[in-house]
Symmetry: C2
Subunit: 684 residues, 2 copies
């Protein structure tokens, strides 16, 4: 780690200015009193003098800062000559290596005192400054001389842009390849987007030629400056990275464009054509089984010993998994006919002016999934069925499997010339970086653990995320519940698959049922099923010897554990659910229809059931055809989501030469606003 620093001139300027003020003030005071002190003109200071005066203060500051971390720093002052003279260069090289060997950080600056005066330059107010580019070229020379791994140039702009900042399409270049000169035109000032960046870019290219990679990034942004260096060293996408090696594939931005335009083409196909693509993909999954399993075997071998057994199981594919995957895809194909272009509303606004609201795809989806490669064809089919462009980001452990499955998806898409609609992101972008591309992505769907969902919801900046974050499901056993039903319902809700988000977490029991045979039956059943019981505070207070009290009534156990609490009435049950629930799925068990309807109407959750297991909360069980997920969001899609969750609408208005001024108070026309019938959803 070496540091090339500016700041000596600025530091010295403060100091010299102060000195001059003090020396002038005596004279001034004789003439006009103290008050004029502040208004006195400050003479232009000589930059080299400033640098000399500031150097010691600057070094003291670095010393004080580094001392905090027990790191020793050393001062090195050089001039260009030190690099040109072979002997001097060797001396400098030796000194620096010796310092580095001793874990001392060299702080390097130009020895401004012995260089010629600077050309005028307005970088700093009221002082002629040695052009900053000296530091950039110094850093580049030093980086090459010392064969550093990376040169980080911190500036006050984000990096290098492909067109002048402020123009329509100015975009930050993430990675710049010197061979790739089309994207930026150097030299012609008006067409280059580097405002004040020329010197840095020249230095960067020089260092790159010398074998050192370079990053130009913003070091002044107050919100990130604390992290910028560590972020860069960790390989995150910060600023512009200068590299000699151009990766083979497209950038993620290009992939986004391709998904957008491919998706638009997909959306204009006939529903039968989209279904055909999905049927073809289903066939490919079984036809190309051997190749898929071979690729999967590679992933499995590489993961062996590095992944835990349950993860390995999720990663592995088999003939039977592929077969059932193909069956699922055919179901999606069948249910896709009625999705895009469905008319939801028709209105006659005036004679010959008809309005239609039709379903259309949302645009570009980003689906992020963990180890399971079988997610890929399934998600691809959903995107195809709904006419959306798709960016896929899978887990690294499934690289080989994902690659072949993606190729098959593109092969299927190409039968109708829309191969590009589905893109697999293979670049080094972190999930976090993808979540920031709000101009390219319209909806993010995380498929995986609820931890993944929560992380993505946090990372997504301005892009909506569809996914369930928590399922704290309740079942309220009313005083009029039927003895026969209750244990069946509790067992199914809690024990059938306790890790699911629609599994039961809290059982609310009406107080009248305490110490009844029904209550004992429930407890016995839970014992037999080895469900660990946690007592709510009221429940615990009713028992002589109670199970351990809950830490929190708002817990998703996801395991054979259940919280039991006592309530006095259906209203208290509803209040409990509103206070501690996650608005996922809540159930009442009662034979009293009036109580049941009260519960159904008043509980503010995505799914509210009467005498049915919480586990019905599921797209397939709801008969939605393909299941996109279960959404705990309140807008757009709520609860189990079918293909409709991947659709939005647009309004089509067909007129002749209709203008709104004809409908004004004294205009010739009146609004009719007549609702016209729309085709009903197919009934089987």
């Amino acid at each position: 780690m070496m540091l090339v620093t500016s700041g000596a001139v600025a530091f010295g300027k403060q100091r010299l200015r102060h000195e001059i003020l003090l020396s002038q003030s005596v004279r001034q005071a004789l003439h006009s009193g103290q008050n004029q002190l502040k208004e006195m003109a400050i003479p232009v200071l000589e930059a080299r003098a400033c640098a000399a005066a500031g150097q010691s203060g600057l070094m003291a500051l670095y010393e004080a800062m580094f001392t905090q971390y027990s790191i020793c720093a050393a001062q090195i002052l050089v001039t260009n000559l030190d690099f040109h003279d072979e002997q001097k260069r060797r001396n400098l090289n030796g000194t620096l290596h010796e310092l580095l060997r001793m874990n001392i950080v060299p702080i390097v600056n130009t020895n401004d005192a012995v260089v010629p005066p600077a050309e005028p330059n307005s970088d700093l107010q009221g002082v002629n400054v040695i052009s900053v580019k000296d530091n950039d070229s110094l850093a580049a020379r030093l980086a090459v001389e010392m064969k550093t791994d990376l040169l980080i140039v911190l500036s006050d702009v984000e990096g290098l842009f492909d067109s002048p900042p402020g123009s329509d399409d100015a975009k930050l270049i993430d990675i710049f390849y010197p061979g790739d000169q089309q994207s930026v035109t150097f030299g012609t000032k008006s067409r280059v987007g580097m405002g004040g960046m020329e010197a840095k870019v020249k230095a960067a290219l020089w260092a790159l030629q010398g074998g050192t990679s370079v990053v130009i990034a913003n070091g002044t942004h107050p919100k990130v400056s604390g992290h910028v260096i560590t972020d860069i060293v960790e390989g995150k996408k910060v600023g512009t990275f200068f590299s000699e090696v151009k990766p083979a594939g497209p950038t993620v931005e290009q992939q986004g464009e391709m998904a957008r335009s491919g998706g638009r083409m997909l959306a204009t196909l006939e529903p039968e054509q989209r279904a055909e693509i999905i049927y073809h993909l289903a066939d490919l999954l079984t036809d190309q089984r051997d190749e898929i399993l071979l690729a999967n075997k590679k992933d499995m071998e590489e993961a062996e010993g590095r992944l835990a057994a349950p993860l390995l199981k999720r990663l592995s594919l088999s003939t039977s998994k592929l077969n059932s995957l193909a069956i699922g895809l055919r179901q999606i194909a069948a249910s896709s006919q009625d999705s895009v272009g469905r008319v939801l509303r028709r209105t006659r606004i005036a004679k010959n002016l008809e309005l239609e609201q039709v379903t259309v795809p949302i645009g570009v989806l980003l689906v992020i999934f963990e180890s399971r490669p079988d997610c890929l064809p399934q998600v691809a089919a959903l995107a195809i069925a709904s006419g959306n462009g798709l960016l896929l980001k899978g887990g690294k452990e499934a690289t080989h499997s994902n690659r072949i499955l993606h190729l098959l998806a593109q092969e299927a898409l190409s039968i109708h010339g829309v191969k590009e609609a589905i893109q697999l992101v293979n670049t080094r972008e972190e999930v976090e970086d993808l979540c920031r591309l709000d101009k390219m992505i319209d909806l993010i769907i995380p498929r995986g653990s609820s931890q993944l969902v929560r992380d993505i919801q946090k990372a997504a900046k301005g892009i909506p995320v569809m996914g369930h974050s928590e399922g704290i499901c309740h079942m309220y056993v009313d005083s009029e519940a039927s003895v026969d039903k209750i244990t069946r319902l509790v067992r199914d809700s809690k024990c059938e698959y306790p890790a699911a988000c629609n599994a039961l977490e809290t059982l609310l029991i009406h107080r009248d049922l305490l110490r009844t045979p029904l209550f004992d039956q429930i407890i016995d059943m839970l014992r037999v099923e080895q469900v660990k019981i946690h007592a709510g505070p009221k429940f615990a207070s009713y028992l002589t010897f109670s199970p351990s009290e809950v830490k929190s009534l708002r817990t998703e156990y996801g395991d054979l554990e259940l919280c039991i609490e006592v309530v006095d009435s259906v209203q208290e049950a509803i209040d409990h659910i509103h206070k501690y629930g996650s608005s996922h799925t809540d159930v009442i068990v009662t034979e009293n229809e009036e109580t049941a309807e009260f519960f159904l109407q008043h509980v503010d959750s995505a799914c509210v059931f009467w005498n049915a297991s919480t586990r019905f909360s599921d797209g397939y069980r709801f008969g939605l055809g393909a299941e996109v997920g279960i959404s705990t969001s309140r807008i757009h899609a709520r609860g189990p989501v079918g293909l409709e969750g991947l659709l939005t609408t647009k309004w089509l208005l067909r007129g002749q030469d209709h203008v709104v001024s004809d409908f004004s108070e004294h205009g010739s026309l009146k609004y009719l606003h007549e609702n016209l019938p729309v085709p009903q959803r197919n009934t089987n």
Copy 2:
């Protein structure tokens, strides 16, 4: 500005440790060689010695930092005695005041070298530290002694919580009133949420009694630490503010709770009851006209001379404004009957197991509106019609008007006992603070300028925002456009109300029309209407003398200005719209139905029209009844939004004792998934 600092011990620890290592290394080296140097145990250091050794380095660091800003700092070391002895206190007071008078920042620390040894404390590894609370009480004493306006205590936690952090309902207390001891229980350790905060809170209360307000905030958060002091001084909601004065009304959190529960009650009313409330509010607006106008007059008088004329106009109410407002409200009431509880989908899942998807309110809306007070009754009616709870945040300039209008809304609500469903936020919370309450608010609707919408979209953390941000609307004039229609359509779209978001901004003309009479007619009309023309690059290249070239093809002029560009085909028009448009409203003018349908299907915008003015893009003109707004978002609601935009859905499942295990492969039941008919939307 005075600074009480810690850090001397830490600073000295580094230094002494280094010294000890050096002195030990000689001895150690004689025994066992250099390699053991690193592993040597460091003896526990005496805190007072550390402080003495560190004090000079710490001060040098402050000096170096403050010098950067030409600010002089002074070192002050005090002990508790300096406050107890009257003479010493007066000395200290005099010194500090003299320093402050000279704009010198006193940096104060305890004179650790002359105090008794500290009790063991584990704040710093490997060193006994003088308990940090000394600095807190020192700061409090100093603040009171110097009669400071504010004491800021920076810690590593966000502030004071009302219950132990990690418990179910732990919430940061924004403002703490010492009189209000219910919310936090001091003393009993397990019930107080101050992990390590006792000393700070005691010091804060002591300072508060002495007449100094106090803020305890997190000074270590890397993302905000650069702003925390300025944010606090600007009165933003950071950390916990200790104040003697308790405001009269409820906190915004309490208002959120009231809106939530009031909204839930509102949602369970019959549609006719909600309509009744709105009709009653409409009546109140005309019945209580005099009181409303009186309140408005107060606002107008206070705003006179401080607001620009157009803003004053928006602020003013009149009898005719109130009358048309009442008419609008009655329309909302009429259209509200069919909103909440509408069945969208019915499915028979199995025998006696029926699923229903019904519309329900979203929950709690936050509506932020600028000067126009007439917004309030309108928004209130929309919330009532859709059964949502509502938080209203109006502009300060309309305080009196908003207050009475809100009272009338609550009066109307109280006829069905749901007065609390609508809350007016009067506390000092900034809009930004409200936008962070993601657990309390489900949807934010900004009503006002597109600048307001953009600001809110930026500020909203995790809460969806419904609003149009930009309307860059296009009209494409095809080669087969009718001469008669085109000028009418362009004039209506551009000139009728150019400030609207659905006004035309870019006219795309097919190349074949250049230099035809039709083209001349358009240009003549634009001249007559005094529309300033900006030429797109291709258009400019076709003309000998062209108007000024556009700066950007992606401009919303919002004024009598229009960009004209030439395209070669309908496909090129579509590409242009996708590249530069904002997906708001785009129109094709042509007599060729096939071209028109191609455009309608392929343009990916919220509204796509054929031979109709862009200005039809409006909830009222679309016949949606009440207009909530125009959404440029792609999910949930898109384009003009009626009451439906304020609704979501829930799933009701009514069974007998249905469990999913009965439907497993070998179970006794099979899914039917039979779509049942749903009632059609009313047709007039």
